[in-house]
């Protein structure tokens, strides 16, 4: 147990330089790409002195390294800078919009993991037979159709034609949002004891989360299936079979476990990239999330917003990476120990 904490700690330390590198890269990119942020913030008809004032406010009149230095100093005070798009602190924007997205992604991740495991295991168990072929077709469609198309389709079929789910938003008409405590509306609803609201929010999340999860689900189901087919032929499976271990145990233990190792890695990355993929889905379902904010800051060349959005995505990837490493180390003893 102690070993695993040490391992986690080490992974966290590894991640820090990566994030610093990412922040420098995006910091520079956001400032050298064409388009004058100050001009865009001020608007086409603003007088020159207003533009200059904004430029000064954004420290764009200073050398790049100095800008970065002050940005870092501010960051340590929890300040991500001023957003020219929302006209307030980027930190406030992140706090407002990110939880809704994370909540959606969390649900999509549950769908993704559950669906990938179920489909992958069925396909692996009945490889080259009918269930496998069905899963294969589902997977091809899942992989090739982008999530926003799923979103539109689900909206049409399961919200409009057959009104099982709400078409958009986070709350039904007339539902009172719970008082904001954590920003995660599901948790806030529970804190406020509004169980009906909790269910209502969940209900609103099903279609967008499912649409979001499908691509990754399909891909990971294929990876699990491939792993199972490969491991079925391994000599160590012949050995446990030769010693009379029942097929059901062979399958659920000696074949499944090694098949999950490669899948976990891909799953982690897939889940992390959900935030980036969520934009269109959030737009279609009018979900008040971070991805919409992300695209808006980019369109408006809101440099502090852009840097924050990219960093948040980077941090999410880093966290996913650490979780993946830990799960893989737990599954495969060779990995955690070798690095010690």
């Amino acid at each position: 147990m102690r070993a695993i904490w040490k391992y986690i700690w080490k992974r966290v330390l590894y991640v820090i330089p990566t994030l610093v590198g990412l922040s420098i890269l995006i910091f520079i990119l956001s400032r050298v790409l064409p388009g004058d942020p100050a001009l865009m913030a001020a608007g086409p008809n603003a007088p020159k002195w207003v533009v200059e004032q904004i430029r000064h406010q954004l420290r764009l009149d200073k050398p790049l390294w100095e800008q970065y230095y002050y940005w870092l100093v501010d960051l340590f005070h929890g300040d991500l800078g001023y957003s020219t798009y929302t006209k307030r602190s980027v930190t406030a924007d992140v706090i407002e919009y990110l939880p809704a997205s994370l909540q959606l992604i969390f649900m999509a991740a549950l769908f993704e993991i559950g669906g990938a495991l179920a489909l992958g295991i069925i396909a692996g168990r009945y490889a080259y037979r009918l269930p496998d072929n069905i899963v294969r077709v589902i997977a091809y469609i899942g992989i090739s159709v982008p999530s926003f198309v799923w979103g539109l389709l689900f909206q049409l079929v399961f919200a409009s034609l057959i009104p099982l789910f709400p078409t958009h938003g986070m709350y039904s008409y007339g539902t009172v949002p719970p008082p904001r405590v954590t920003g995660f509306s599901l948790i806030d609803a529970l804190i406020a004891g509004q169980f009906d609201t909790f269910v209502d929010i969940l209900w609103h999340m099903v279609l967008p989360a499912f649409a979001l999860s499908l691509g990754a689900m399909a891909q990971d189901a294929r990876i699990i299936r491939a792993g199972m087919v490969e491991n079925t032929e391994k000599e160590h499976v012949s050995l446990v079979r030769a010693y009379g271990i029942p097929e059901r145990v062979i399958f659920s233990k000696y074949i499944l476990k090694p098949s999950l190792v490669p899948a976990v890695t891909v799953m982690g990355m897939d889940i992390a990239s959900l935030l980036g993929n969520a934009f269109m889905v959030e737009l279609i379902f009018q979900w008040p999330g971070f991805s919409r904010y992300g695209i808006n800051v980019m369109l408006n060349k809101d440099i502090n917003g852009i840097v924050a959005v990219v960093l948040v995505i980077g941090i999410l990837f880093a966290i996913a990476n650490i979780i993946v490493d830990v799960v893989v180390a737990y599954l495969d003893p060779r990995i955690g120990r070798r690095s010690q």
Binding site: T232, E233, K234, E235, H236, V237, S238, L239, V240, R241, A242, Y243, G244, I245, P246, V249, K253, Y254, K257, P258, V261, L331, D332, P333, R334
Partner: protein
Amino acid sequence: MSKEVLLEIKNLHVGYKTHMGVSHVLNGVNLTVHKGERVGVIGESGSGKTTTMKSILRILPSNAIIKKGEIFYKGKNVLEMKEDELLNLRRKKISMIFQDPTSALNPLFKVGQIMLDIIKYSYKLEDEEAKEMALKALKEAALPDPERVFDSYPFQLSGGMRQRVCIALALIGDRELIIADEPTTNLDVTIKAQVLNLLTSLVREKNVGWIFVSQALGAVRENVDRVYVMYAGNIIEWGPSRKVFSNPLHPYTQKLLECVPKLTGKEFSKGIRGRIPNYFKPPSGCRFHPRCDYVLDECKKSVPEAVEVEHEHFVACNLYRR
């Protein structure tokens, strides 16, 4: 040695389905093991030794097809056994040591986990008793620190230790037949002899039936009662080990024995010209005929029948037809 038959493989034909078509590997294998008998199987790489051994326990790869033949274990056809009979055979009667101990142990499970699973399903024991049984087997396989090995993952053990673990698995319970499929081929030269000595002395001590598959002809000669020579999916010669090694009849056996480097001799062995046939389109008749120096017309037509040339010494070759 009693003459009670333990295992009898009759006319076994096994092929593999591949994307290139079916490879017809085993082409009528016949092999008998008596109770407590030590039987050797020799033959070059790819001749179908592992395929034969895996057929006995029905653990062939999923693309294998058993086309024809019977495998009797104490008079019951293994190929027709129902699930529970087959499990009983695997759990109590026959055990197998695999060619490569590294790939034979699942890397994600501790030795102890695998052993406990095997013992628990075979003997329905509690954890405590099962562990005791496992440790006893590990000790028998001459592993220095059984507790530590029990608690190790395969990657924490050396190749020799892994194969000892596999030997320990084969020793659990009182087996009637132990199949050792090239148990030392994948071990370091220095370890080979140790593992082989361990295995042969255990087999002798327990008086258990033993199939020893190996390309180490010297080891086979010293440690088995009877030997089978396999070529391209056929048993082409068999008999008491002494007779086969001192008086090889089949041209293939003769060449094979010539291949053994003689430490005292001055010249290198010449090897056998040509190579093992393509199983997708095997040669007609005797599969050895394209490589044989004494090939006759009839060799190309039909598979030669076995002839008993001297007492209990058989050869399947047209040169010996009367």
